[in-house]
């Protein structure tokens, strides 16, 4: 059986505790200090950047808690950037004489974290999300382990900014050429934006008709116009002689293609879902998705 539901901390991360360390502080970055011995490198210390700035200069034991819930590393020999923020003081570690990238505050340099500690409790990059870890809820599909699966294998992911919450809808309506007001039932308030609407109807896909002198080919007959309150079947228009885009009038309400019969074009047996997802120019911004 696989893990299907993850509730709480979503990222694997290394928690840091100690006097002066705020609650829910994690390792944001790490750089090992290594020296060359007999043609290979061994760890002699590690520098860690924290997700939160200490409220006071760390003192006493500093403990790293690993994601397995049991492993820890306790340090009593370290230096730190104290309560500093910004770019100073920085920390420089090295691998064999070569400089590693500089770590900026807040950092702790654990000088008693050595090769044997690295072998027992490595600060694996998979445990370092590079930020404060996310909390929330994930649910995976049948057969997929929620702790390791790809996002495509999730049924629900709280890191998403929008999901398919169904605000309104209809089943098996015969609208023909008319609009439907999806706010009427239940006296729903306007969402304040033009929503994404998923629809299906009797007439779907291409239509090709001709009378010998005129020939019409419609790539998708099921064309709709959505406003903040209505869902309307419409007819695509070509430029029809317009020489500039401003002369183009756009789709018209109702279905009225020449050569195509009402039976073959009208909105019949329409079912749709109105989702709480903005889908229109001017609404797909951080105001609605941030």
């Amino acid at each position: 059986m696989t893990n299907r539901v993850l509730l709480g901390q979503l990222d694997k991360a290394i928690r840091v505790t100690g006097t002066g360390i705020p609650e829910d502080t994690f390792v944001k970055r790490r750089e090992y200090n290594q020296i060359g011995v007999g043609g290979s490198f061994i760890v002699t210390a590690v520098g860690i950047q924290l997700t939160k700035t200490p409220t006071a200069s760390p003192s006493g034991d500093i403990t790293l808690h690993f994601p397995d819930g049991t492993s820890t590393f306790v340090s009593d020999s370290y230096s730190s950037s104290g309560t500093s923020t910004g770019l100073s003081p920085s920390l420089q570690t090295n691998t064999g004489g070569s400089s590693n990238p500089v770590i900026f505050p807040p950092w702790i340099y654990l000088t008693d974290y050595e090769e044997s500690d690295f072998q027992a409790t490595p600060l694996s990059s998979s445990f370092i999300p590079g930020r404060q870890p996310d909390f929330g809820l994930k649910v995976s599909k049948d057969g997929a382990d929620v702790t390791t699966c790809a996002q495509k294998d999730l049924l629900f992911d709280s890191t998403s900014v929008r999901t398919g919450l169904v605000y309104a809808g209809a089943k098996s309506l015969t609208l023909n050429d008319s609009a439907d007001n999806f706010l009427t039932t239940g006296s729903k308030a306007s969402l304040g934006y033009i929503p994404l609407v998923i629809a299906v109807e009797k007439n779907m896909g291409e239509r090709e008709e001709g009378d010998g002198s005129e020939y019409v080919n419609i790539d998708e007959i099921s064309l709709w116009k959505t406003t903040t309150s209505t869902f309307t079947p419409c007819t695509a228009k070509n430029l029809n002689g317009a020489s500039t885009s401003s002369q183009y009038t756009g789709p018209t309400d109702g279905r009225s293609y020449d050569q195509i019969s009402s039976t073959d074009e009208n909105a019949i047996n329409v079912s749709y879902f109105v989702l709480r997802i903005p889908c229109a120019y001017g609404y797909m911004t951080s105001t609605y998705f941030g």
Partner: protein, 148 residues
């Protein structure tokens, strides 16, 4: 860090403390105080204007005249599926394939009508003179009413 997951007793913004359920806000929004539109999972308040469910398509294994979802030219047929028995029925979501080569790359190809559907099949007619491959998913209908 803001509260993102509320499981159990509701708050004023979630319909009051007499309501119990699960609510999840989108990143950066406090689930206890944010607006309904800032939720990504919502246990509704029981009002007629509340959300009706989640749009989560169920991909079904379908069979037509043969063992695929290819419908022969100018043919009306039932595409059958199994394991769905929602009492309000289903709503099929269907589409056609788009070619990946040639001048019509990326365009929908083929026309069809959805004539009727039940909890176990969709009756469709292929209007084209060539075989049509359709994709099919289904959604549960959320209400016995025409609108919800």
């Amino acid at each position: 860090m803001v509260d993102r997951v509320l499981l159990g007793k509701g708050t004023t913004a979630r319909g009051g403390t007499s309501k119990y359920g699960l609510w999840i806000s989108r990143p950066g929004k406090d689930v206890t105080t944010c607006s309904d539109d800032e939720l990504i999972f919502d246990t509704d308040k029981g009002g007629s204007a509340d959300i009706k469910g989640m749009f989560q398509l169920q991909t079904v294994t379908a069979t037509a005249e043969t063992t695929t979802t290819t419908v022969s030219a100018s043919t009306t047929t039932n595409i059958s599926f199994i394991n769905f028995n929602w009492s309000f029925g289903v709503i099929p979501i269907m589409g056609t394939a788009a070619p990946s080569t040639g001048i019509n790359t990326g365009q929908y190809q083929g026309g069809f009508t959805i004539n009727s559907f039940t909890t176990s099949s969709v009756n469709i007619t292929n209007l084209q003179t060539t075989a049509l491959t359709v994709s099919l998913s289904v959604m549960p209908a959320f209400s016995a009413n025409a609108r919800f």
